[in-house]
Amino acid sequence: MAERSFKKEVQHLKLGDGAVFKGEGILAITKGLLQSGVSYVGGYQGSPISHLMDVLADAQDILSELGVHFEQNGSEATAASMLSASIHYPLRGAVAWKSTVGTNVASDALANLASSGVIGGAMVVVGEDYGEGSSIMQERTHAFAMKSQMWLLDPRPDLPHIVDMIEHGFALSEASNTPLFLMVRIRTCHVTGEFVAKDNVAPQYNATNAVEPDRQLDRIILPPLIFEQERDKVARRLPLAIDYITEHGLNEVFEGESDDVGLILQGGLYNTVIRALERLGLSDAYGNSRIPLYVMNVTYPLIPEELTQFCVGKRHVLMIEEGQPNYIEQELSLILRKGDVQAQLHGKDILPGFGEFTGKVAFEGIAEFLTVSRPKAVDIDDLASRRQTALLASLPKELAQVLQPQIVARPAGLCTGCPERPLFSAVKQVQETHETDFHISADIGCHSFATLAPFNLGSTIMGYGFSLASSSAIRAKIPHRAISVMGDGGFWHNGLSTGVSSAVFNNHDGVLIIVDNGYSAATGGQDIPSFVKPENLIASTRIEREDNQPIEAAVRGVGVEWVRTVYTYDIARMKSTLEEALSTDYDGLKVIIAEGECMLNKQRRVKPQLAKRINDGMRTVRERFVVDSETCTGDHACIRLSGCPSLTIKENPDPMRVDPVAYVDNSCVGCGVCGGNAHSAVLCPSFARAELVYNPSGWDRFITSLRESVIGFLQGRLSRQREARTL
């Protein structure tokens, strides 16, 4: 059950010839795959490609109707390996993942696939998580495309064009026997738009019409065949690709009157470049540019002939290339030199050498290029004044100084009621009783937010499922037993083999905490092998799904002997278990499975049920927490152990006190962590749980009125006594 449901939207995937398809980039890509007669699809979730996986999962009926095989792969390496179906058979296949991290994981299989070559079109849709909002290190997929020789498509972010490029992509892959990447930038995945649909094409082969098993020896990765494959890549496949790209005009040239200069750009940057030109008065809203453009919808391989042709006769050209190193600019430089083209090439000398190509960067870079190159038919004075106006957009210094200290950072954090919060509250409390801070090997997942305020727990993040592996050297050099934290997603993706079995093999005397929340939560709540019926996801009442693969069984299966499963909200027990793991005489790997259902998913499930119960007149108790603002003294120790969005502050109602008091806002889901912390860390008597009874029973009403009369009497007495003491 993913975070976002596309059940309604996927119906658009059925649209036939001539119908107008409206929706997000992600859906358009899926539709493009179906129109291309794709035979199988798969992938691994991760922003910005998570929704593509959710769309595919929600579209399973439509896919199976067409005869398209779908797998939600265990990792990107699994997905890449799946593409081997296209090596010997004319089966079109597509897989998707977040890049570059996913590409790194998949690289072994991809490299072998690229060496073998394919008969059926093989496409990897990579969501490039680069720039604003990115959650990973900043690198390019381009390097991988070059080193393994897979073509790289980077289409203009315009839905009809993207769909068109998907269809061409498969044809190009088949024409050149080479797998390829379709790269979509993060904003393209979520851009809305429309295009005219075509009928879906059912794949030729399926379960009832199977392929004839066949093998071509020269496609197997073994010497001496691999040497021939390398020759084939360079001598045969590359020229075939260049022919296809040229013949079908995959790259686009937009002529302009100032033809003594030109801009060469990656397709994905087209809209940004046009907007910069529009603001410089050199293009209209429709992209009719006065400056000629060469748009690379295929960024690898480059097409030397097209490039020399575009540059001949120009005094200056600007290569607009996002990311580093500037591979395209380097190759372009070689192409122009070899072709003896005299146009002066600009690129990273004018544009920044790193970082996302935002509207501001594009505007300033292109303006500078035009100022330097002084194209014909461009009014330089007008250009200068437009640049000047744009500069005025930046905030005057004195206002910036006023503003700057007020803009608080908003680091990502755990959601309200998150089951991982009590885990880290416990770890922080245990840390306080130790002499030193903990060195913790963290991992990818929601739990990586524990490295930030207020927990500040975690020293390294090496990749998805790598935390245990990454503590294997440092464990011998720190003053406490090594602690690694891994999510269930990371565990199944990689952690079991890379981490757990290796640690057992090496007598790793450390602690591994596996956060088991029932979903791949950070990527949007996708199912994972240890999925259980969510309502049963409590250690004490666990009833597993029939095909469930419990984490505990998995770690025991690879030889872990010390395993404890703890319900995360039981903070006291979590603390004592962690203390035990850190101090026990047992010197092998100690695994703590910290279990608690992802609250986002739980709320989505429970809220409607709760509302229905109340609506149906059934007695229902809803819990939430309250801070007593009179006993709260405003030291915020509770917040430093929690960071829950619903546990916030408000002005102190006591005019004598200056510090704000803690306050639980109405978004509280009553998870109980505040109270648990108040107890286990001996914080203060300010936390209380409110149990609101809806549709009270007769007994509820009776006991309430009895209580009210007794308490009312006593409160009356107290009030009178108090009255006597007033000034």
């Binding site: 950070a522 405003g634 916030t648 107890h679 203060c684």
Partner: protein, 553 residues
């Protein structure tokens, strides 16, 4: 030349900024506009700040041109027509990023606060100044609409999005009329009645300000800050003792009377009239009732002295928990409906120290040091859930609150009085030397708050500060203020430890300078072995302190 309309929506993860973006896009489509919207989901959606970007373009123009417009994926500084923010700091962030410019940008924001973690986790107060953002927002936008939309939304049990949508309709910057907006909400089909009501309220609130004379500038609806100019008059007393107390308060400098009044009020409620008189005695003992007494010093001393004297022991906590007012506040805070049964479950964890603190001082001390008693008390000193509004729970608190009567003889009370006296003595000594310093000593009362470990840590810092004063390590008001801020800078006490060490080293260095003079005097003489050893020790300590004071903190 036609260009697209460019709209930025800044929201916090999970606030539904995407819904607002969709409303705008849906409305545009129905009204004959092409639209494109983009967003950057991902980790930002987990409580972080995120933006949505939308462009609109008239369809008829596109049709007559025979081409579709190329719309940008990014907002660009200086190139945005409308910025809509769900919270005031996010508005500030948009201004900081250059998306709000006086030549064209309409800025619509809710002015309520969603605090950042750095503001929330501060040991004192880390809250930023939103008025500063508001003033910049007014200066930098072409049109500004800002009011507490959370409050408006709450009135109608709706969400901020709807208020933002209403304000957007009122500005008229989009070429769509009110009906178009309302139809969008209706077609959304979710909580239509409430949303339409909220939309209308926000529409009207925004309009009221647009007709105000500051032309295009729409002011905030937040009530103006009070306090600063408000004058305070002592109320008349209702009882004999009350009148006597109030008469004593009247003898203090006028500026400080309000704080002292609040103090006696609190202490009479906490204990009795005599206790409030003790408070006034203490203030008078410090000479703070003198006509020429420093009002700031009096205010700060009165504030922290009263709070400290009313420290939260078990009877006090019980007294607060069972009061009628608290019951009412509780129901209101959890939004309980009329007549709805609500259970109140307190999370308490009294320690052995708290139980011993309740005892008569000698007995309490004995119990605290007796293993046998500790074992017995240990049976009660553990995490407890108490149902305040059950009869037995209430009675338990009721009896506990009644122990107030024996408070003065209790161990906890006596210990706190000793701490208070230590603080007041230091204050008195500081008064003698330096008025500024005395004020800062008074403000150190802020460090003593909270319960159990938190309180002990604060008290520990207070004593270390008093020691530093005593040792002559801290002599200036600014150094003391810095040290106090350091005590509030981090829970682990690292910042405080650093600041303290630095001050001590500086003190040593200054002492060493004196020693250097002594050294040169010594070296001119015939040096005995003892002198040499002395000189060696002195120069060693000098070089160490030099090293330390050069370090980067």
């Amino acid at each position: 030349m036609t260009t697209s309309t460019r709209i930025v929506i800044a929201a916090l993860g999970g606030e539904g900024g995407g819904v607002l973006a969709k409303w705008i896009a849906d409305m545009a489509a129905r009204e004959g506009y092409l639209s494109q919207s983009t967003s950057v989901p991902g980790v930002a959606q987990r409580t972080g700040a995120t933006i949505y970007y939308i462009e609109l373009f008239p369809m008829d123009q596109s049709q007559s041109a025979g081409r579709r417009p190329v719309m940008s994926m990014f907002p660009t500084p200086g190139d945005v027509d409308i910025v809509v923010c769900s919270e005031i700091v996010e508005a500030g962030r948009m201004i900081q990023r250059g998306f709000v410019t006086p030549d064209r940008t309409t800025l619509i924001t809710s002015t309520h606060r969603v605090y950042g973690i750095s503001e929330k986790e501060a040991m004192g107060s880390g809250v930023i100044d939103k008025d500063a953002i508001m003033s910049v927002a007014r200066q930098r936008s072409k049109t500004f609409i800002g009011f507490d939309m959370q409050q408006t939304a709450r009135q109608f049990d709706s969400v901020i999005n709807t208020c933002l949508f209403g304000a957007l309709a009122q500005t008229g910057v989009l070429p769509f009329d009110r009906d178009a907006f309302e139809n969008t909400i209706r077609e959304g089909g979710i909580a239509v009645k409430r949303n339409i009501a909220t939309f209308g309220a926000s529409f009207d609130l925004s309009a009221r300000e647009q007709t105000a004379d500051h032309a295009s500038i729409v002011e905030t609806f937040d009530p103006p800050k009070t306090a600063a100019t408000k004058t305070f008059t002592l109320p008349a007393g209702h009882s004999l003792e009350g009148r006597a107390l109030l008469a004593r308060v009247a003898a203090f400098p006028e500026a400080a009377q309000e704080m002292i009044y609040l103090g006696i009020n609190k202490l009479v409620d906490y204990q009795d009239f005599a206790y409030a008189n003790e408070f006034l005695d203490r203030l008078q003992g410090l000479g703070l009732s003198a006509p020429d007494a420093d009002p700031d010093l009096t205010i700060e001393t009165a504030r922290y002295l009263a709070l400290w004297m009313a420290f939260e022991d078990l009877p006090r906590v019980a007294q607060i928990k069972i009061s009628e007012q608290r019951f009412a506040r509780f129901r209101e805070e959890v939004k309980a409906e009329q007549e709805q049964p609500v259970q109140m479950v307190e999370f308490l964890h009294p320690r052995i120290e708290e139980f011993c603190g309740l005892m008569p001082a000698r007995l309490g001390r004995h119990m605290l040091n007796s293993d046998g008693w500790r074992r017995v008390l240990g049976l009660f000193a553990k995490p407890r859930h108490l149902h305040t509004n059950s009869i037995h729970g209430y009675l338990m608190f009721y009896l506990l609150a009644k122990l107030r009567r024996f408070r003065r003889g209790s161990l906890a009370h006596q210990e706190e009085q000793e701490h208070i006296n230590a603080w007041l003595e230091a204050l008195q000594r500081a008064q003698a030397s330096n008025a500024d310093l005395a004020r800062e000593v008074a403000r150190c009362g802020r460090l003593v708050k909270g319960y159990s470990n938190t309180r002990e840590r604060g008290l520990g810092h207070m004593y270390r500060i008093l020691k530093a004063l005593d040792d002559g390590v801290v002599t200036s008001a600014s150094a003391l203020a810095a040290l106090r801020e350091a005590a509030l800078a981090g829970e682990d006490g690292k910042a405080f430890g650093k600041a303290e060490t630095q001050l001590r080293l500086e003190h040593q260095a200054a002492a060493s300078a004196q020693a250097r003079a002594e050294l040169s005097r010594l070296s001119t003489r015939d040096q005995s072995e003892t002198d040499q050893a002395e000189a060696g020790r002195l120069s060693a300590s000098m070089s160490i302190s030099k090293l330390k004071t050069n370090s980067p903190y």
